[in-house]
């Protein structure tokens, strides 16, 4: 095992015992990046010089919190997090040369813990996509099979952690963008409750759905990352002012007396046979750990995807209006008047999927259509949230698949947006309900492709979700598997 293969908590132990230095870990990670990233294409920019300086700082313990398990740990940051003085592109041509004038709260929190930033990670343009093929700077490959996609939109984050190009990474999840790529790359991906982590400094896609979270190699690392990221931010009016527990304290092996809800709407025909089988095995394992599995129902499940593509696109159409070529970002230099400046800059600056969603969102908010689409969408959103509230009267945590299929081939769904949108059917409703959800490894297909399971908890009950995840993880070896990348 190389240093880059280890987890945050393993490396934190080595650092504590002085068996390794942050410099050695950081160098190991950069060596790995240089060896494999030409194949994986997880990074959009690297910050080697700064990273080594941060590592030195951590080793000398200058200005960092001594006890933090993140001190000196090399992390990758999704390129929709602003970090002052560095490029933040959101994988869009329209922000190709944009240098952030300030730092996102979530990124700052990690820096404050003494973390080392390796670089900025590839994503679907403006976090819109499920395969990471929508990057203006080239797609990301899945380290488990380079002909396949890593999932999206935090595909760069997932691929980088899976390939050992960073120890853990940040992602954002609007409809499954952390959990789906985590599932397709054998990682733990956690989307906290809406309002748990500040959105300040995250390039917005859909404000009422976006949430920051970690992609890690195991559940303990997820808890460590969430400890650092969570908390109220006065700069984000939608972040909640609630105390943050120590999530690592929730990690216990026993599930006696716990009730796990199994919603029938998530175990359906059309799901890949091997995925379905892995989930059944996972349910058996959870039972063996002492939990009781109960049937629950989420009757409005099917309305999730259409509701999402109304609400998310509506917000996106407005959030992306600021990319107009006036103050920053790409501008067409030939334009002779204001209207053509807008038209040309935006037509040339945005990619196809982003333009599709801006048009959809503009349409659903238009005079005469607002009631039929946006307002109705909000009502359905309430129904979906109520479904979960009811289900949670019968159980502590809900268990479902993450993706109906394992990683698919690059290009396979690229020309069929609808098919692509359906990859998120199991993750999207969690965002609509504002709930915390996480993905964790639960097996492999015959051709060695990872399979993930999803745990969903009540608002601000991440601890319950983490406890079930940890208990399950400790009973398995899935999370210890690493891809064989030459």
């Amino acid at each position: 095992m190389e240093l880059f293969d280890l987890t945050i908590h393993e490396l934190a132990d080595l650092l504590k015992q002085k068996k390794a230095s942050s410099r050695e870990i950081t160098e190991s990670v950069f060596k790995r990046v240089k060896a494999v990233d030409s194949k994986v294409h997880a990074y959009l920019s690297l910050a080697e010089e700064k990273a080594l300086a941060q590592a030195k700082n951590a080793d000398e313990n200058v200005g960092a919190i001594h006890e933090s398990p993140l001190r000196g740990i090399p992390l990758g940051i999704k390129d929709n997090f602003l970090i002052e003085g560095t490029k933040t592109t959101a994988s869009s041509k329209i922000l190709e040369n944009y240098v952030a004038p300030y730092t996102a709260t979530a990124a700052q929190k990690l820096l404050d813990q003494g973390a080392v930033v390796v670089g900025k990670l590839n994503l679907d343009e403006f976090a819109m996509g499920s395969s990471n093929e929508n990057s203006a700077f080239g797609g990301v490959k899945n380290p488990w099979d380079l002909e396949r996609v890593p999932g999206g939109s935090s595909g760069g984050s997932a691929a980088a952690v899976a390939a050992g190009e960073c120890i853990a990474a940040t992602g954002t999840d609007t409809g499954g963008s952390i959990r789906l790529p985590a599932a397709l790359t054998n990682l733990v991906g956690l989307k906290p409750t809406y309002g748990r982590v500040s959105r300040y400094g995250i390039v917005a896609f859909a404000s009422s759905l976006d949430q920051v979270g970690p992609l890690t190699k195991d559940v303990t690392d997820a808890a460590i990352m969430l400890n650092a990221l969570a908390g109220h931010d006065p700069k984000d009016s939608t972040s909640l002012n609630l105390p943050v527990p120590d999530y690592t304290k929730a990690l216990q092996k026993d599930l006696k007396g716990w009730k796990i809800g199994i919603p029938k709407e998530y175990f359906i025909d059309g799901t890949d046979v091997e995925v379905a089988k892995a989930l059944q095995t996972a349910i058996e394992t959870v039972k063996k750990l002492g939990a009781e599995c109960v049937d629950v129902t989420l009757p409005h499940t099917d309305y999730g995807v259409p509701t999402y593509y109304i609400l998310a696109t509506a917000e996106a159409s407005s959030n992306l209006a600021r990319y107009d070529g006036i103050r920053f970002g790409y501008r067409n230099r030939e334009a002779k008047d204001l209207t053509s400046l807008y038209k040309k800059s935006r037509s040339e600056g945005f990619g196809a999927e982003v333009k599709r969603r801006i048009m959809l969102g503009t349409y659903v908010l238009s005079a005469g259509y607002y009631d039929a689409y946006y307002l109705r969408g909000q009502k359905v959103r309430t129904l979906i949230r109520r479904d979960f509230e009811k289900a949670f009267e019968k159980c502590d945590v809900i268990l479902t698949p993450v993706s109906p299929t394992p990683a698919w081939k690059t290009g396979e769904k690229a020309s069929d947006p609808l098919k692509m949108y359906l990859s998120d059917i199991f993750t999207i409703n969690v965002n609509l309900a504002g709930l915390p959800g996480m993905s964790l490894p639960c097996g492999f297909t015959g051709s060695r492709l990872p399979i993930g399971m999803q745990l969903i908890a009540k608002h601000f009950e991440e601890e319950k979700m983490l406890r079930v995840a940890y208990a399950y993880e400790q009973a398995n070896e899935w999370h210890k598997k690493r891809p064989k990348l030459a």
Binding site: T88, I202, R322, R327
Partner: protein, 481 residues
Amino acid sequence: MSYEVVIGLEVHAQLLTRTKLFCSCSTEFGGEPNKNTCPVCLGQPGTLPVLNRQAVEFAIRAGLATGCSIETKSVFARKNYFYPDLPKGYQISQYELPVCLKGHLDIEVDGKAKRVGLTRIHMEEDAGKLVHEHPETRAKDASWVDFNRGGTPLLEIVSDPDMRSPQEAVAYLKKLRTILVYAGVTDGNMEEGSLRCDANVSLRPFGQEKFGTKVELKNMNSFKNVEKAILYEIDRQGAILDGTMEGKIVQETRLWDADKSETHSMRGKEEAHDYRYFPDPDLLPLVLDQAWIERVRKELPELPEAKRERFMTQHHLPAYDAEVLVSAKGLADFFETCVAAYPQPKKVANWVINEFLRMIGNDETKIPASPLKPAHLAEAMKLVDDGAISGSVMKTVLQKVFETGAPPKSVVEKEGLAQISDTGALEAAVDEVIAANPKEVEKYKGGNEKILGFFVGQVMKKTGGRANPGVLNDLVKKKLS
């Protein structure tokens, strides 16, 4: 044919908060372009709005001062459109659920009282400012944006279509401005744009209930222009309805051109934006607790009507004086500050109403910048009481103070306006006047005592009004006897 005009006003008032509506940038006016900006008010990626509590308090105050109901739940919405002075591509405003609903203002035109309904008051952020020449080189090859004003808090106050003449519209606007200034929420300066007014104007035959097609008028930056623009629009629409002018009245936005004294079309209904309003997901609904509303109600500054009553009872002013003084908060404050230093209210009121108002050209917006301060007026009145200057010279002294800002005492000294009570200093002048007017001397000696005033007047003239009248009277009598 004569028509009834129907007018509704939409007024934007810039709030007197120290910081902007959704960030902590200063709202200070003027200064270097784009100095008062930050990532939030420049719409940088990833930024989020955080509501200014003071702005909310001002909105509550404005609502209470105009008899509105204060809504315990209101919602900020995004108004989406593209323009270079709008950094986010949307303006954060309130749409379906505004903070104040259903108020009213009482106005009076030609002695007739009338109540005008207020539809709503809502909060919103201002846009930046486009400049079409370079601030230094004056080159006109590009447009520039100054975002200093971008994000400053505004109240939009929408009236019901209750006004039936341009005079009523102006009376409403003046009253609204007075109340907002009294409530301390805006400085109400129309020329600097901290109070802006749009008017919806339509005509209908008398007796008809249905409203005619309305036209929205913009760009009127004074009371006078509001009146003129509405008058122009009444004539224009009337002529079209009568068929004496070609065309059709269409729902459109028209700009008032003050130089040409006419309105011209800015955009029609077809070109009107579809703003695609929807609740801003970055902000939670604004929920006001009743205790806050009650506290604001208790702390509400004294409004014009209450002040007028108090001036009549506390200062024993006649109704007319009180009415004039409270018509503008600055004037009332000027009066009261002066009375505090010189407790003779009626004397002060006379001076403020007759002289001070004339000095500032009946324009109370000039009060803050006036070099003549209440303390100056009090000082000058004391100088008269002490015999240091004569009553007739006070006017000259205060005019000088108004022009220079120098305190009355130093004006008196510098200009040599002190009262002359020394008989020695007056004797020569009296002798001269007597010598130059032998006929009048004859008349006096012939028993016409009334002519004494003539001599006194002549000497006063010679001394620039500085002679002590009592001393002078005695002296003239003595010399003539």
